[in-house]
């Protein structure tokens, strides 16, 4: 390592300058807003500085539900998506015929219009004519009201969301797989090591930074889930009337843009912020512990 110098800041300067104006400033303002009672976005007026917004927030059963829903969502969607994507990316990167064709096919969902995606998923999950229920019936199972039964709202949302995040994860994993030096594999080939062991002994460790990235980003993005809910339930947060699939950002958006409760929306954002901080910190723990152990062993 070279000595500490301020040179790093020269490299960071462009990014920091833009973020100061377009991210840090509005963020600080949002945090400030969260402590203002009856804040008006129009003229910046407020009644007083207190914790009224936070009190309102936790009194609201919709917000509490939004928190539990969002956490459930994160716990299911992130690991599922990473594991499936890793598997598919690995297959795509192995010696297969029509490799280019397959890679393109897996990329296409990423550019498909969101309208088409919402429409087709509502058709797949439709209780009467849906593809998924047809398959279930074929195997002798009963139809499920994926979009009508509020007990299944989160399940439907999770299935949809895993599907939706696959294309992105596959893409970055592929890029990482392509970057692994072939020399790493040659040794294994000589030893005739079983493929699954090559995968866990060589591929996964070499991709550790990218897998970590997928996890961190997965957690952050999943905590901010909004569009998935909106497009699956046709604009509401679950079967009409029920907020059974409400998420934190859905709640924030509704408070801000539909109910003009800017302070409460801002307070919701701060709570979300703290939650994400907490979860990303937990996520990093195993890495930290391992690093510490390794350091101790040396």
């Amino acid at each position: 390592m070279n000595r500490k110098s301020y040179k790093g800041y020269v490299y960071l300067a462009p990014v920091l300058a833009i973020m100061l104006v377009f991210t840090a400033y509005p963020l600080v303002r949002a945090i400030f807003m969260s402590f203002c009672e009856d804040y008006s976005i129009i003229n910046g007026s407020y009644k007083g500085i207190n914790l009224e917004n936070y009190a309102d927030l936790f009194k609201d059963k919709d917000f509490r539900k939004a928190i539990t829903n969002t956490i459930t969502y994160v716990i299911f969607v992130v690991p599922l998506s990473v594991v499936i994507s890793l598997l598919i990316a690995n297959l795509l990167n192995s010696h297969i015929r029509f490799q280019g064709l397959f890679q393109t096919l897996y990329f296409l969902p990423y550019v498909t219009s969101v309208i088409a995606i919402g429409v087709v998923w509502r058709w797949i999950l439709h209780s009467q004519y849906g593809l998924l229920n047809s398959i279930l019936n074929f195997f002798g199972f009963e139809s499920i009201g994926w979009l009508t039964d509020r007990n299944y709202s989160m399940a439907s949302l999770i299935i949809f969301a895993v599907w939706k995040s696959l294309a992105f994860d596959i893409m970055i994993f592929l890029a990482a797989l392509q970057g692994i030096s072939p020399d790493l594999y040659s040794a294994a080939r000589v030893d005739a090591t079983p493929r699954w062991r090559v995968f866990f002994r060589i591929t996964v460790p070499a991709m550790r930074p990218i897998i970590a990235y997928a996890f961190v980003m997965g957690i952050i993005n999943s905590f901010k889930v909004y569009n998935e809910v909106f497009s699956l339930f046709n604009g509401s947060a679950g079967p009409s009337g029920y907020n059974s699939a409400i998420t934190i950002v859905f709640y924030i958006y509704d408070k801000f843009y539909n109910n003009y409760k800017y302070g409460i929306a801002a307070a919701g954002s701060v709570v979300l912020f703290l939650l994400i901080m907490f979860f990303t910190a937990i996520q990093r723990l195993p890495g930290r512990i391992r690093a510490r152990k390794e350091a101790a062993q040396k």
């Binding site: 390592m1 070279n2 990014v15 509005p26 393109t104 096919l105 498909t112 429409v119 970057g179």
Partner: protein, 278 residues
């Protein structure tokens, strides 16, 4: 792949089955989009929906194309997406290098703050940013559509993860050779990570290409509008012409697919290297 054990053959079959099933499943909405774009206005609302159109209405495409000044929108979108992508790549590469390779005072704090900005939903920042852009007198300019997107934490973090997987020894060797940091970055680091950089370029381009609300907020004149705004033409409060929305969506996707096919060669180069041996 010549004479193999039966288990290996089964494994091979399973592999293709998974890949084909997965591809069909992920591709379904895309196929749906294309088929819907060819349905008639009455067929598209049928319940239960038909899958293959009974009559292929290719005229939907002509109709969609004529409904808005798409050539102008197209130019705007290409310009904004290209400049944004090039710009964000540059700033992200520089910042990623700083985080991955340089040591500077306060690095940990800066990095934490940097990541923390991701944790607040963009919807909360929208109005404040609009006010800022207005105060800068950037409304209705390309600047307003481009500059706020020139810094991206996602891409910076992704690239720094890739950069940090490059062996430290290479950097030290370069140092010994009196290679400056900047030269090292662009002569060694960037070429070594071109898969990752190409991927970021595609992600950024698609993101910019599809953005809707921000460009709508900061522009007023039709001359400045982008392709995604053309889609709104086909809907009203009481309903929408979905076959035209789908047709326009297909038109929107074509350039991206072409760019992808073009760039895929670069992503795949590494593979060709290992691929021939099999």
């Amino acid at each position: 792949m010549k004479s193999r054990k039966p288990t290996a053959i089964i494994a091979e079959i399973v592999k293709y089955v998974i890949l084909i099933a997965g591809a069909l499943f992920t591709l379904l909405p895309f196929v749906w989009m294309v088929l819907s774009s060819l349905k008639s206005g009455s067929e598209i609302v049928a319940i239960p929906p038909t899958i293959i159109p009974t009559h292929f209405m290719f005229s939907n495409y002509a109709e969609a194309w004529a409904a808005a000044p798409f050539p102008r929108y197209f130019l705007n979108t290409v310009f904004v997406a290209t400049v944004t992508t090039v710009g964000v790549l540059l700033t992200s590469i520089l910042a990623a290098f700083a985080f991955a390779r340089l040591d500077f005072p306060g690095k940990k704090i800066v990095f934490s703050l940097f990541m923390a900005t991701l944790m607040i939903p963009g919807e909360m920042l929208l109005i404040t940013n609009f006010v800022t852009v207005t105060k800068l007198k950037w409304v209705d300019t390309y600047k307003a559509m481009i500059v706020p997107w020139l810094a991206n934490v996602f891409y910076t973090y992704l690239l720094s993860q890739f950069f940090s997987s490059v062996p430290e020894a290479l950097y030290l060797a370069a140092k010994v050779d009196k290679c400056s940091d900047l030269k090292f970055l662009f002569k060694i680091m960037v070429p070594m990570n071109k898969n990752a950089i190409t991927t970021v370029a595609i992600l950024s381009f698609i993101g910019s290409w599809n953005s809707f609300l921000w460009p709508l907020l900061v522009t007023n004149s039709t001359n400045m509008r982008v392709l995604s705004h053309g889609l709104v033409r086909f809907q009203s409060e009481a309903g929408a012409q979905y076959q035209l929305i789908m047709a326009a969506s297909c038109i929107l996707v074509v350039p991206i697919v072409i760019i992808y096919l073009f760039l895929r060669k670069y992503i795949l180069e590494g593979m060709a290297y290992t691929g021939v041996k099999g």
